[in-house]
Symmetry: C2
Subunit: 364 residues, 2 copies
DNA sequence: AAGCGCAATGATAGCGCTAACATCAACAGG
DNA sequence: CCTGTTGATGTTAGCGCTATCATTGCGCTT
């Protein structure tokens, strides 16, 4: 029956704004009136164009432009229970590795019309708990969180939310749902293995005081302990300095100084991040210690600058952008298939030791 | 009542779960039933507790915990036309300066229950246009965007949205609404002034190829041109190299190499960012050029690492975190007063030249 | 007793959209 | 002719909240 429902005398684009609760913005029904179709048809023309005839689709498109319509996805989300938002919880974005993840995830999701709701957990559990709650109140279609160690309250909330959850940047045997990351313990062990292979024996560590750095340090120490057991006479030893978080170049520099004070005969310093490593190098350079001859330095992260410093930094490469892309792709696939049951699936993307000029050559 | 073990999802939970469109989550009305009050009272107890008697407030709080209620702010936003979200549009977060802004803004807003909807514009106008549209469809309460140069379509949409808009990280005489930033042209001029004051005459520039770097380069060149006019015999000259974006240490290094090839007698290189500067320094060190004696280097941004490198980087300090905090505070104040008219207000937060060790001392 | 102000609470009616079903025209086969 | 099928469109009834106004109870004045 077409247009009998709308009162004809209304003045064109202005519409019936007599209701005090209306926002005054152009609505779907305004576009529908302009195109001479029902609101539902406009909704379909925009969201499932294949269900609408070409003629109508064009009429609607013209009406959208004419009225300057911007869809209200808040209302859409309420009606359809799909918000097309993905919550991303990371400790900080002021750290290149997490920034890479957020960047690539945002880019990938944007292509499919999804958007990122950013939450910063600041390396603290209680902050994570609060952020999880506020973020879930927006009813995101999925949640991505860095790390696998959550308070039980957080775990409960995440399970109750019944949305896909991806833990990233870590490994665990017992993921909440999907897990995309790498083993920090294995990184530490591999670094130890590599440096032992280079012939170093007296090690320092300058690590940030966060859970994942602790895991890497543990992995490192475990491998070293094994070597000490095998070759007790070799004089292998380790001293560790914990730097404040967030890790900074200045923290690396003072950490390096502190470490060298405690262990003057240190041959190689393993750092919790490339940034800390740069700080250690700066400290060494200010003491005119030759690198890597007087002191070897190993970073973590292979951040953009690592390859281009002088001397070029030996480090561990993590593909942060890859994690972001994989995570986004995985989520998009699940949205498509509407598969909302937890998977308990683990994807280890691994890491790579990149030997450059701040460590001496490996005796292969 | 204990907790519900996860193996058995919602079964009864007193309510009309027979409706196929209900999400199955705990609703306000479920809490109301548990507390023995009306839904509206629960809403008030949570959002305007001062309007509710202490006795009722406590009953509601207990019911919230008992039921595990997580508010649905999508519905809340639709009903109240207040989403408590702020859209933040920056070119990238994989750049420490913008990451700082995003970080501090997110932190400050989170305290008041506001959340950040992140949009990445990738330095490209058409991408900005698309991002603005999708972001506005979420009906954020305000929008923050880096830069002042927008396409006319973008400007129109932003004006039509009738929400506070803050442009940051730049200066303009004609802001859309609020503007918090600094003059890139003035930065360039001040750097030129400073380096001339140090006695340098043959300048190189390694700049990223983005609009704001262009403005700084222009400011620099303008000041140099004035000096050339004043002292035509002095042999003052400038060569500029444009590096690809996003700026990287590697880009700085190759840019430095390219510049030195074109201008072997260059005395001082001004860089578009600290990252580029680090690259130039790395290139100089690989050529055993002493810094600052054989070559002076000036950065931009005073990123965390600038003070701690060896030699410590002379640079221009921008208070990114300050911009983020100021912006957030400003918005929170406007939300409080519900002042939604554009202000056309400009706040210049300035900058500071930080002379460290990569430039020689200023002849004061 | 009636009236008034005030604080606390409840009932109602949407916000702008979409899921689900209803309708309708056009056409095929029996 | 009827019936069934298909594709395009329309109608209805919410999604889960909150703005708004109505109602209630209580202490106080007149």
């Amino acid at each position: 029956m077409g247009d009998s429902s709308d009162s004809r005398p209304e003045k064109s684009a202005g519409g019936s704004r007599d209701n005090p609760r209306a926002t005054g913005a152009v609505r779907l029904s305004d576009v529908a009136a302009a195109a001479g179709v029902a609101a539902m048809t406009v909704s379909r023309a925009l969201n499932q164009p294949e269900l609408v005839s070409e003629r109508t689709r064009e009429r609607v498109q013209r009406a959208v432009i004419e009225t300057g319509y911007v869809p209200n996805r808040v209302a859409g989300a309420l009606a359809s229970s799909r918000s097309r938002m993905v919550a991303v919880l990371v400790p900080t974005v002021a750290h290149s590795l997490f920034a890479d993840v957020v960047q690539s995830m945002t880019d990938t999701l944007a292509c499919e019309g999804y958007q990122v709701l950013l939450g910063l957990t600041g390396y603290q559990r209680e902050q994570e708990e609060a952020v999880v709650e506020t973020v879930l109140s927006r009813r995101p279609d999925a949640l991505v969180v860095a790390g696998t160690r959550h308070s039980s309250a957080t775990r409960q909330r995440l399970e109750a939310a019944r949305i896909p959850v991806v833990e990233i940047w870590d490994m665990s045997d017992d993921p909440l749902d999907m897990l995309i990351g790498f083993s920090h313990h294995a990184v530490g062990a591999a670094v130890a293995e590599h440096l032992l292979g280079c012939g170093y024996q007296r090690f320092g560590q300058v690590m940030a005081d966060d859970p994942r750095s602790h895991q890497r340090a543990e992995g490192f120490n475990a491998r070293i302990k094994a070597e000490q057991a095998t070759r007790p006479q070799a004089g292998i030893k380790v001293t560790t300095h914990w730097a404040d978080i967030p890790a900074s170049l200045a923290g690396g520099r003072s950490g390096g100084a502190a470490l060298l004070a405690r262990m003057p005969d240190c041959e190689a310093i393993v750092c919790g991040s490339d940034t800390l490593a740069m700080g250690v190098i700066a400290e060494a350079q200010s003491r005119a210690m030759a690198i890597p001859d007087a002191l070897a330095v190993m970073g973590f992260g292979d951040m953009g600058f690592a390859a281009a410093t002088w001397p070029a930094l030996s480090t561990v490469r993590i593909d942060g952008a890859g994690i972001g892309r994989l995570t986004a792709d995985h989520l998009l696939k699940r949205f498509e298939t509407r598969h909302h049951e937890p998977l308990h699936d683990v994807l280890d993307i691994g890491f790579e030791i990149v030997a450059r000029q701040t460590t001496r050559a490996h005796r292969s």
